[in-house]
Symmetry: C2
Subunit: 329 residues, 2 copies
Amino acid sequence: MTTIRDVAKHAQVSVATVSRVLNQKGYVSKKAEEAVMAAIKELDFRPNAVARTLYNKSSRMIGLIVPDITNPFFPELARAVEDIALTYGYTVVLCNADEDIKKERNYLDVLKQKYVDGIILTNNQLSFSEVDEAGVPMVALDRVIADHIPTVVSTNKIGAEMATKHLVESGCKFIAHLRGPKGLPTADQRLEGFRNVVEQSAVASVVVEADFHYERSELVTEELLKQHPSIDGIFASSDVTAAGALKAISKMGKRVPEDIQIVGFDGIPFGEMLVPSLTTIAQPIYQMGATAARLLIKLIEKKPIEGSYFELSTDLIIRETTKGEGAAK
Amino acid sequence: MTTIRDVAKHAQVSVATVSRVLNQKGYVSKKAEEAVMAAIKELDFRPNAVARTLYNKSSRMIGLIVPDITNPFFPELARAVEDIALTYGYTVVLCNADEDIKKERNYLDVLKQKYVDGIILTNNQLSFSEVDEAGVPMVALDRVIADHIPTVVSTNKIGAEMATKHLVESGCKFIAHLRGPKGLPTADQRLEGFRNVVEQSAVASVVVEADFHYERSELVTEELLKQHPSIDGIFASSDVTAAGALKAISKMGKRVPEDIQIVGFDGIPFGEMLVPSLTTIAQPIYQMGATAARLLIKLIEKKPIEGSYFELSTDLIIRETTKGEGAAK
DNA sequence: CTGAAAGCGCTAACAT
DNA sequence: ATGTTAGCGCTTTCAG
């Protein structure tokens, strides 16, 4: 491994000078600079990132912690974060907490240990509020943690209202909501939106808890439909949940959207791959990730940020699991 | 930040002693050890990982480079790698090369710079052979790079043969193969398996290139079916490709499996979510990831490895997109 | 403009 | 058994 000393020797200057040209800091004569450049090239020298990090206490890495990399929503988000980060010269370290609060803790520790410059925390089922007071800049993405942590989310409540309204307008008389895990703020907000609409419509409703896992959602739905055979509309708290519901329905021999209509939430590409394709409330996933990344980088670079709570808007995408207009799309 | 010096002072010993108890190396008197432990606890001291890395040239991190985190195959793989790595006390850094050879290069560089202890390279569309001679231990996963790099793959050719045979046995007369990108060894092997079977069966066949992206696969399939309306079987090189094909078929008003039967490749959970659910060749994804991780860790710890080419076996999973027996499943 | 030297936090000879 | 000290490779005062 060639070091800064080698370069210095080769260029007949001191290590300080080499460091100066490396960081474009301080005065360096043209001549010295050229000599150093030449030496760098000749020796194929590349500064040691770890040594730099040790001194600077900065690694130009940002950590992204997701609860379940296996849920297509998160890879999508990760791509966005990565795109932006790369643009600004940061490398992102993707950590899969696996819905395990211990793992999340562990990653948080490891990341800090590695002097990451900032961390983006995404929605975790087992959300814990006492996210470390201080240390690195953080932003919460698709997750509300605490007031003092800048947050990027989408309009969950409004989205849920749109979804429910769409179901009502499409003729549903008995609508079920497969709500997300209790205690998850985003899930709670979606439930709230659902309630708002059913309460002022003349439709029957029922709410059951599901999570964001396919098989479990399928099971829950099966159980639900057995108990309430007259359900003719389902609003699921995520697209994966909706996929499980769709499967359960098809297994029971009912048709979508003729017998039961479904609306999901998330807008992951995967919803379009289903047959029938899934009507859903699309979150601006890429934009959410990008916003969070930009926000974090501003925080890191101590630039002013305009606001600390960003709510991006959701869209109703009508596809084939509902009969509403546009279903032809 | 509390350092080893603080601890030493607090415990009234030298830094060397603290280091010794930290690393359980060398002799330390019981008394000294207890004093140090107490100080550590009291000061909530946590050794600085970066400083350690700088000295040891080892970070207890392993890098995992994937071509497209958005393809569900890879998150699945990542989970397996992570599980094993965690068990052995390694943290995995997941890098999304985005099918971009430059990004892959860059990550390779960054990882080395960070003194990762090892790297797992997974299948990249733009596979490049001259993966850096030396430096860190590496293993290739679902990807053949070079003889000297230990490799973990599945039985691609055999899997493809099973798939094609299944289609033939299910009554297909004109089978199309949506092959993966040219130059990708795994894709080439699947093609080879396909050819082997069609050549010794009395069925017509056609091969077109698709990639592992949903929309593009849908387009390719649409085009293909227009040109060859009599195709009644499709073997797709990946499940995502198959999903695209399924969509194209359903858009054209044909039925699966009545008019056209489909077999995918990968065995990602997502295939089961489709309606009809996808018959596929399942790779032992988790096992592949776990094997690669264990192999890499052995390499890192300089333990003997038994073999350097691991081929794990694939399985035919019959679901609803084919008429073969078991389709009831 | 440039160099010597201290130090980021830790480990490992080498003494004692 | 324990302490002193010299680095790991880099950056940054502080002199000159």
